[in-house]
């Protein structure tokens, strides 16, 4: 157990895997000499040297493709997409190549690569550097997706991702990098992909969250009056832990997802839709999604905070759901909201 910042936990996870396995290599833009724009590879170049830790040209398609080729031939590359939006110039390699290679080789080739990317809003980077864009990768059979929500699971999921024989995307909310927490290091700290965590328990509603919205959900739940919530941190978005969510909803009868992204195309739709199909009879109120509106992430501290669903909003919406049994309107649908 050690106390560290989330970016340190990530670097520690990579370092521990690199120590155990000489096939693990790291590359990306400014990850070596500069130790990563978010210091998520601090110490790696010094310890593992320039053969295994490399800076790339600004060429996401190039180095993502190189990761595919390296992984297919025996290495376990860990690459970094500095801001997930840059995957927009490299998506082909992750979704159309890496995720299909095992299939396209009749199982002869595995692609054990990790694509780490910083994601999300909250730091004033403007609308081309503040999204999560899970939607680009969720519909891709053959690819796993983890979303970290703090130092502890950042360490554990990163290690699991590196050990996994499939391509794995690990999304890291940028706003959490500097946050500190206790981390179980070493092999016991590894967190299996595909399993949700339940950082808080309760009876009245299931709050499903991941990444940056875990703290939002926890804060909402802890301040709740008159109700309590099962808070489920999905941790892995693909494949997501349907069992954990369904078990909880069967008990609470109510579901709300807390998502950072716009309503349309958000990951919560998969959760709500699956629950509506599989646990219809157990639902005692409409399942709801608490998301950002269908707009671009605005610059400006206040606007950006307004854009994101916060704890107060989550608590209020859930409270209204519980009180009325009806789905409350989104904040932007309410009278005068945009004034």
């Amino acid at each position: 157990m050690a106390r560290m910042r989330m970016n340190q936990a990530i670097a520690a996870a990579i370092a521990d895997e690199m120590r155990e396995n000489p096939d693990v290599v790291v590359f990306g833009e400014d990850v070596a000499v500069a130790e990563g724009p978010f210091k998520t590879s601090a110490g790696l170049l010094a310890e593992f040297g320039p053969l295994r830790v490399r800076d790339t040209p600004i060429a996401e398609m190039g180095f993502m493709g190189a990761a595919v080729g390296a992984a297919a031939t025996g290495l376990r590359p860990v690459t970094e997409i500095m801001f997930v939006e840059f995957l927009g110039v490299a998506l082909d390699q992750l979704v159309t190549e890496a995720a299909k290679f095992s299939y396209l080789s009749g199982g002869a080739v595995n692609v054990p690569m990790v694509m780490r990317a910083s994601v999300g809003a909250g730091l004033g980077f403007g609308c081309q550097h503040s999204q999560v864009m899970e939607s680009w990768i969720v519909g891709a059979p053959g690819l796993k997706i983890a979303v970290v929500s703090g130092p502890h699971n950042a360490y554990g999921l990163t290690r699991a991702a590196i050990r996994d024989d499939n391509p794995v995307a690990v999304l890291e909310p940028r706003v959490l990098y500097a946050g500190r927490g206790d981390v179980t290091t070493g092999p016991e700290g590894i967190i299996p992909l595909g399993r949700a965590a339940q950082p808080a328990g309760g009876d009245d509603v299931t709050l499903v969250c991941c990444g940056s919205t875990v703290r939002t959900a926890l804060e909402a739940a802890s301040g709740a009056e008159g109700w309590s919530a099962d808070v489920i941190d999905l941790q892995t978005l693909q494949p997501w832990d349907a069992e954990a969510v369904l078990d909880s909803v069967r008990r609470t009868g109510r579901l709300a997802t807390v998502e950072e992204c716009p309503y349309s195309g958000g990951w919560g739709a998969d959760i709500v839709s699956t629950v509506a199909t599989e646990a219809f009879g157990d639902l005692s109120a409409p399942p709801i999604r608490l998301t950002a509106p269908d707009v671009h992430v605005p610059f400006g501290k206040e606007l950006e905070q307004r854009y994101l669903p916060n704890a107060g909003y989550v608590a209020a919406q859930v409270g209204e759901l519980l009180a009325t049994g009806e789905s409350p309107p989104h904040w932007w649908e309410r009278d005068g909201a945009l004034a």
């Binding site: 500069a34 724009p37 980077f125 403007g126 081309q128 610059f299 950006e304 945009l338 004034a339």
Partner: protein, 327 residues
């Protein structure tokens, strides 16, 4: 705003002394911006261009306001050179309604089509094919406008660079591709990412002219861009110009540039584009030595005043994030 921007543009287009003043203004505004960020007064990040002012002003001087310019997040200097007012630029960076797009974009996102500034690009390389597209409009409509793409040395390694220039070359589009080689892509020196000495050599891969230009000499920049633009307007197709330059500050807000070899910055200071050009104007008797201090002082005062104005200006309201999403 537009007419003020156009006037400011006309000034640099016609008057070399105005070019000097604009370079000084850019330096002062960028210094002010860095200061504001350092003090924690602005949200987010910023990429300033101190040291690269000759490129910005040289390019703007050579182009018409109807020409279209695609530049990057490191675009404050270009915006000011093209004519945007310090208020439009600082307002945007500081997230106020007086900003060029109303304060919802931030430092990486300036725009003013009245002087040809397309929305600036925060994605490396993205502006290269977009400029080709703007040039296509000119070609299809038969105007003699040109489109210019400005990008960094690091951007020359990304696919969009290759595809955009190739497309412009094969269609003989009226475009000018300008690489601002400031020696670093983020924290990486160009030699760590680019296996050739001069980006301009890549022109050969597309059968177009390539030229290395002294990016610290505003006259040289202006002349090279004018020639390339003339060629483009004449229907002879695109060119690739490489401006050798240097950024004095770090890559962005938080970067102190520890990766710089000792003495490198100082060497470049010696060829400071503002000092060099000032000296030249003095020699040409277009500027008196005493004026230099005055011009600098008034630029600094302006920058400070504009910053105050921005501080006092309102931030955009909640409704603004719902505007201009769908037309």
């Amino acid at each position: 705003m537009s007419s003020e921007a156009l006037e400011r543009r006309e000034a640099v287009r016609t008057d070399r002394r105005a070019r000097y003043e604009r370079m000084v203004e850019i330096r002062a505004v960028e210094d002010k911006i860095r200061g504001l960020f350092a003090e924690g007064l602005v949200h987010g990040t910023t990429h300033t261009c101190q040291g690269q002012e000759a490129v910005a002003v040289g390019v703007a001087s050579a182009l018409r306001p109807t020409d279209v310019v695609c530049c990057t997040y490191r675009g404050h200097g270009h915006a000011l050179a093209l004519g945007l007012t310090p208020l439009q630029v600082c307002g945007e960076i500081m997230g106020r309604v007086v900003g060029s797009i109303g304060g919802v974009g931030g430092s990486m996102h300036l725009c003013d089509m009245s002087v040809g500034l397309m929305p600036t690009f925060a994605i490396v390389g993205a502006g290269v094919p977009v400029a080709a597209g703007a040039a296509l409009t000119a070609q299809v409509r038969g105007t003699d406008d040109v489109a210019v793409s400005l990008f960094g040395d690091g951007a020359a390694n990304i696919g969009a660079f290759h595809e955009g220039i190739n497309l412009a070359a094969i269609w003989k589009l009226p475009a000018v591709f300008i690489c601002e080689n400031n020696q670093y892509g983020e924290y990486s020196p160009i030699a760590a990412t680019t296996p050739i000495e001069n980006i301009a050599e890549r022109a050969g891969a597309y059968g177009i002219p390539g030229e290395v230009v002294d990016g610290q000499d505003v006259d040289a920049v202006c002349a090279a861009v004018e020639a390339a633009a003339a060629r483009a307007r004449a229907g002879e197709g695109p060119s690739l110009l490489e401006m050798k330059t240097y950024r004095y500050a770090g890559h962005s807000r938080s970067d102190t540039a520890p990766y710089r070899p000792e003495g490198e910055l100082e060497e470049w200071y010696e060829r400071d584009p503002i000092d060099t050009f000032g000296a030249r104007l003095v020699a040409e008797e277009l500027l008196a030595v005493e004026e230099i201090v005055e011009i600098e002082a008034s630029a600094k005062a302006l920058a400070a005043e504009v910053a105050e104005q921005c501080m006092a200006a309102p931030a955009p309201g909640v409704g603004s994030m719902f505007e201009n999403v769908l037309v």
